[in-house]
């Protein structure tokens, strides 16, 4: 070796140099001191003169490269370059460039297997072999070559625009080294490939993983045990890195297919999964998935990953799958995850989970659905303010809840608009994906493009037939899967309100529009007028009384539409046999009348006699007048607290106001004092009975003290006089002398009079005049129906009770006497019923009482009227 060194340090011929170089090549690969010294000599002396001399030197160049394409050779060249950078040499730049050229050529020529064999087959000890080899791999993997060459280039500011050095370019360097390793992936190298795992490990570390991985990619297309050996010998971190870059690479390669054609791309996940499973195990993917789910990948790749990691016959893998799902699920559930991760990555995890869940067995999912993790995770998500996060929570909850074996038929369903969005549909549809391993052919770009071309040709030739074929297809397609495909082609739907999904009535002959309860008098009127519509009538009549009462408390709405509403209400017919129709109609009318008596009073009185009404309507009108009168007079008692009321049905039964009830109450009120008085007389005075006195006062107190009420202000002109006038005009018509009408009429009059007359009103005398005339007229009719007579007697009673005695005596003495005679007649008549007789008796008593006070006055008045010129007028006063 030393001799060679000496020879080389002097000038030397070409031939001799060749000999020397070929003889040292065998040993030069070992990193020994003498080799290094020899190489140093070559580098210093030989290289400047023999590198780049001409064609004849090409063989020398080859040999030189062979010498330097070794561990010590490369190392020396790097050392020389470093020296040039830091030392002070003449012509440093040109020498450096020379070295760089040699380094480039040597690196390109470097044979890893040979280098390995040189070291491993040498006579040195095993441990030394190992340390030497690891020194070499460290040297290569630590980028010493790149560091030196790049440092040199930058130190001398050499522009290398016209030439690129692989040794100064990170990506190229990694690519070349990776390709060198890839070339070793042959079956015969199975045993030695693990020696290169360290080198590959170094290559995977820095920023050029993509180059490192893609260089190995061609070998992944087939089943390759040597690659598997290499992969297994990597540490888990490197394995994950390798997979990450492999996926990213695949993603880039195949993503454009998925956008071109949906049908063809359906097979891609399956085919990719086949590809992945050629050389990797499910546990590799699971391990990757647990830590790298955040890597952004296309859905089809996610599907293939899930498919590849979920299909395995080994129990270990199954357990590992469950563990991974659990781990991912706990990440997904954690509240800090919600806060700290972007929505996009959260969705990615959700997609992975959804895909994985469909691959798991029911028992596990059942366990899962019961776990605290599940409920906690869902609740965490549902609490979120972000729609996307809530949506993910709901979708996953729905999916897992299917396995909550409590109820098979009724599954959890979030019925919110969010769940109808296309994103929710998209997420939910993921569960129905059933990916299967597919042949690798479908990944072949030629196949795909050929398919597409074929399609284009078809399209061009016969667009019409294509169209019709498509249409036919849609007829046959009934499965959900295909429907979804159609949606993708379809136009985007506009937002559709929730109520759209509600069924409307199936029978189109029945109106399906729901009638809203009227809010205004006007709308009430319109509903009432819609006589063909059952719903409208029902709703209208049911709300009418309350609405009128409510509206009468403020505003002028009721007054504005009073006449219209009154006409409608009076004319209303119970076409649909609605329950409680009469009562509701009556109370509506009553409320309307009491709300605006000055408008409705005259109107209703005039239409009562003018309009062509049935007896039912007439009686109803009269009843409503009477009831309105009562409610007007007792203004303060209009509202009852709901708590004081009986349940509605009972209340209606016992307290619904009818005219009969009202008149009966009044009758009782009027006759009670008389009865009490005469009871005393019959039984004799009971001076010691203090109770009687108190009872007397009680009776007295029940008597109404005269005071102005709402009714009395309007009663004369709005109601009373109109009723009396109208009656007097209409009495000739038979329909107005019908006993039933008379009963109602008389009772109404009686109530009106008794309610209003208690106060001092202006038109009182005229009212009394007309009232007496009407009563006289009724007496003249001599109706034999007991009810009419009873009503008449009630009126007498009212007259006697309410009218000031002096007025009666002075103005209507004659009529009163006539009434008395009529009452007497009724009392004595055999035909009149028991009730009439008893009332008549009471009326007679009342007459007697009044007569006692005013008889003289009355008679005087009569005489006065009859004989104006009688001179003996005063003489008769004693009668």
């Amino acid at each position: 070796m030393d001799s060679f060194k000496n020879e080389l340090s002097k000038s030397i011929g070409t031939q001799r140099l060749k000999e020397i170089l070929s003889s040292i090549q065998v040993h030069i690969g070992l990193p020994e001191a003498e080799n290094t010294a020899l190489l140093h000599t070559i580098a210093v002396n030989i290289l400047p003169s023999f590198w780049e001399i001409g064609n004849e030197t090409s063989s020398i160049q080859d040999q030189l490269v062979n010498c330097f394409a070794t561990f010590p050779g490369l190392k020396l060249l790097c050392a020389r370059l470093d020296e040039l950078v830091y030392g002070d040499h003449k012509n440093a730049a040109s020498i450096g460039m020379l070295y760089l050229d040699v380094l480039e050529a040597s690196f390109n020529k470097l044979n890893l297997k040979k280098s390995r064999n040189t070291i491993m087959c040498s006579s040195i000890t095993e441990s030394k072999k190992r340390s030497t080899w690891s020194g070499f791999t460290f040297f290569l993997g630590n980028f010493g070559i790149i560091n030196s060459s790049a440092a040199f280039l930058s130190a001398y500011n050499i522009s290398i625009t016209n030439r690129t050095y692989n040794v100064s370019n990170m990506a190229k360097y990694v690519e070349i080294l990776s390709k060198k390793i890839a070339s070793l992936l042959e079956p015969q190298n199975d045993s030695i490939i693990t020696d290169f795992s360290h080198l590959y490990h170094y290559l995977l570390r820095p920023g050029q993983q993509k180059a490192a991985v893609s260089a190995l990619f061609p070998h992944l297309q087939t089943y390759s045990p040597s690659f598997q050996n290499l992969f297994r010998s990597l540490n888990p971190l490197d394995q994950n890195t390798f997979l990450t870059y492999l996926f990213l690479d695949l993603d880039q390669k195949y993503s454009h297919f998925t956008f071109q054609n949906i049908e063809d791309s359906e097979s891609i996940p399956g085919a990719l999964a086949t590809l992945l499973r050629l050389n990797f195990l499910p546990c590799d993917f699971l391990q990757w998935l647990e830590f790298n789910w955040e890597i952004p990948l296309n859905l089809f790749l996610m599907r293939s990953i899930v498919l590849s990691c979920s299909v395995s016959y080994k129990n270990v893998d199954k357990i590992k799958l469950k563990q991974t799902v659990n781990a991912l699920f706990s990440t997904w559930s954690a509240s800090h995850f919600l806060k700290n991760y972007s929505v996009v990555s959260q969705e990615r995890l959700t997609v992975y989970l959804i895909l994985l869940l469909s691959k798991l067995d029911r028992e596990f999912l059942h366990e899962c659905s019961k776990s605290f993790l599940f409920t906690n995770g869902i609740s965490n998500r549902l609490e979120s303010l972000d729609e996307g996060i809530r949506l993910q929570g709901m979708v996953l909850a729905e999916i897992i809840a299917q396995y909550f074996l409590v109820s098979e038929t009724k599954s959890l369903k979030f019925d919110v608009p969010l769940m109808a969005s296309s994103k929710a549909t998209y997420l939910k549809s993921l569960t129905e994906l059933n990916d299967q391993f597919q042949p690798l052919d479908s990944l072949c770009p030629q196949v795909l493009s050929a398919k597409n071309e074929k399609k284009h040709i078809q399209d061009g030739n016969a667009p019409n037939t294509q169209e019709s074929v498509n249409l036919d297809k849609t007829f046959e397609d009934s499965s959900d899967h295909n429907e979804r495909k159609v949606i993708i082609d379809d136009l985007q739907p506009y937002e559709i309100s929730d109520s759209e999904s509600e069924d409307s009535v199936d029978d189109p002959t029945i109106s399906k529009t729901k009638v809203d309860t009227p809010k205004y008098i006007q709308s009430l009127c319109r509903l009432l007028l819609d006589v063909e519509n059952y719903d409208a009538q029902k709703v209208a009549i049911e709300t009418a009384p309350e609405l009128i009462q409510r509206k009468s408390l403020f505003g002028s709405e009721v007054k504005d539409h009073a006449k219209w509403l009154l006409e409608i209400l009076v004319g209303l017919q119970n076409r649909f046999d609605l329950p409680n129709f009469d009562r509701l109609q009556l109370s509506s009318l009553c409320n309307l009348l009491s709300a605006c008596p000055e408008i409705c009073g005259p109107e209703i009185c005039s239409i009562l006699f003018i309009g062509d009404f049935s007896l039912r309507q007439k009686t109803m009108i009269l009843s409503s007048i009477a009831m309105a009168a009562v409610s007007l007079a007792n203004d303060e008692e209009r509202f009852e607290f709901p708590t004081k009321k009986l349940p509605q049905a009972l209340h209606d039964q016992f307290f619904s106001i009818t005219l009969d009830k009202l008149s009966f109450d009044f009758e009782k009120k009027l006759t009670m004092p008389i009865m009490e008085e005469y009871q005393d007389k019959i039984e004799g005075p009971k001076p010691l009975q203090t109770r009687i006195i108190s009872r007397q006062t009680e009776i007295e107190s029940r008597k109404r003290s005269p005071k102005a009420n709402k009714l009395s202000k309007v009663v004369d002109k709005s109601l009373f006089l109109l009723l009396t006038n109208g009656f007097m005009m209409a009495v000739k018509r038979s329909s107005f002398t019908d006993p039933l009408f008379l009963v109602y009429y008389l009772k109404t009059m009686g109530i009106l009079f008794s309610q209003s007359c208690t106060s001092k009103i202006e038109g009182l005398s005229r009212m009394v005049d007309e009232y007496i005339i009407v009563l006289t007229e009724v007496c003249r009719l001599k109706v034999e129906t007991p009810e009419v007579n009873e009503a008449l007697l009630f009126n007498f009673l009212v007259v006697l009770e309410s009218t000031p005695g002096s007025l009666l005596a002075s103005q209507h003495g004659k009529s009163l006497l006539g009434f008395e005679a009529y009452t007497q007649f009724l009392f004595n008549s055999a035909d009149s019923g028991e009730k009439v007789k008893s009332v008549a008796a009471m009326v007679l008593l009342e007459f007697e009482k009044k007569m006692k006070d005013y008889r003289t006055l009355a008679l005087e008045k009569i005489l006065d009227d009859s004989s104006n010129l009688s001179l003996g007028r005063f003489g008769l006063a004693g009668l």
Binding site: F143, I146, N147, A150, A151, M170, A171, P206, G207, Q208, K210, L248, D251, Q252, S255, P296, L297, N298, V344, S421, S422, K423, Y426, N464, E467, S468, N470, L471, D472, T474, F475, E476, E483, V486, I487, D489, D490, L491, Q492, P493, Y494, E495, I496, S497, E500, S501, E502, D503, S504, V505, D506, D507, P508, K512, T513
Partner: protein
Amino acid sequence: MKIASAQEKDIDYKSYSRTFSEKLLKSEKKKEEAFMVVPTPFYVLRGHSSSVTAVAFDKKNHLFSGDENGFVICWSLLDMRPLQAWYAHSKNILGMEVIDNDILCTQSRDCRLSVWKINFDRITSSLPLSELSRRQSQENALSQMNSYNSNDLITIYSSIHINALTFCSFSYDKYAKVLAVSNTVNVDEIDIYEARDLLSENTNQDSYGTRLQNKIRPTTNNEKTGALMCTSLISSGEHLLLAAGYESGHVAQFQCNLSNARNVCLNYQDVWEMSYFEKSHSQPVLSVKYNKLANALYSSSADDRIVLHSTLINHSLQSEPKVTRSKHCGQQCLQVRQDDQIIATAGWDGRSRIYSCKSLLPLAVLKYHSSTINSLSFYSNSNIIALASKDSRISLWKIY
């Protein structure tokens, strides 16, 4: 050097993540846009005083609308004002169609089919609303009906007596130049009329038209179809197709050679052949319409179904009709847009619904009218829809 490699790594990963995030964003966007905002009408035309029963667009920015009283308004779509208005009929207008640029055909329950020519060149300004309401007042109706000749803005071309005692409106095919209307005597039969003499100015107003074939009815095994409810005519290649909807819920298709369509025949079977007969509705069919290619027929009825019948010429063998249930009964009118993308229905519930032609999936609900929508029309080659409602308004929408 280490810094450089670190940067390279950074850039590399970034470029990856950028491309992926772009893709993701795209798909995200697509998903988020999936639901578009609730549509609203862009204009509402108010002018009729009673229920609007028919609408039709021409191709020159005009909209014609007819109402229950026989009053027709021609609207300008440029300023949304009425250009002309007249009493075309004395009764409810059943249907109207613009059969040429300025020629309007109207059919009414007064048993007349009238063709009008509107001289747009002479119309210089829009009608003031006061004038519109004056013309619309009933007192003027009769006097106006008799004074068409004096009005040089609108001239009546022809007006023939035809049966309109059913509710079936006419249908017209411009290639075959024939009209399909309900038979004069039997309500379940169809008559085909010559349309050419309707378009000539010399047709006598009291003419009864030229009937080409009559009494076309489905050949069935004693299945009762009830009254004819609607018809649709379309020419497709060599053939003329006639679809009919019946009171029983049946939809029938007849076809004939286009060359024979204008032959006068006593026996309709010499010309027409029934190629399709299907009971797809449980209630009377209210509307049948072909798509532009005439390979699909859509029907709506008083029930809640929208049915897509596939129609193949010369074959009575068709695939099963595709039924979609709208859940809302009473689809008075159905129209297919010219681009065969969407169909629109006019509902008794005052809403129009838009469906995808292919999948019949609901796409939109047009909710504005307070009462039944009687008719609707698409403006050709645009996205404009007009809805005519019982509430006497016409709403204009832009959909897709």
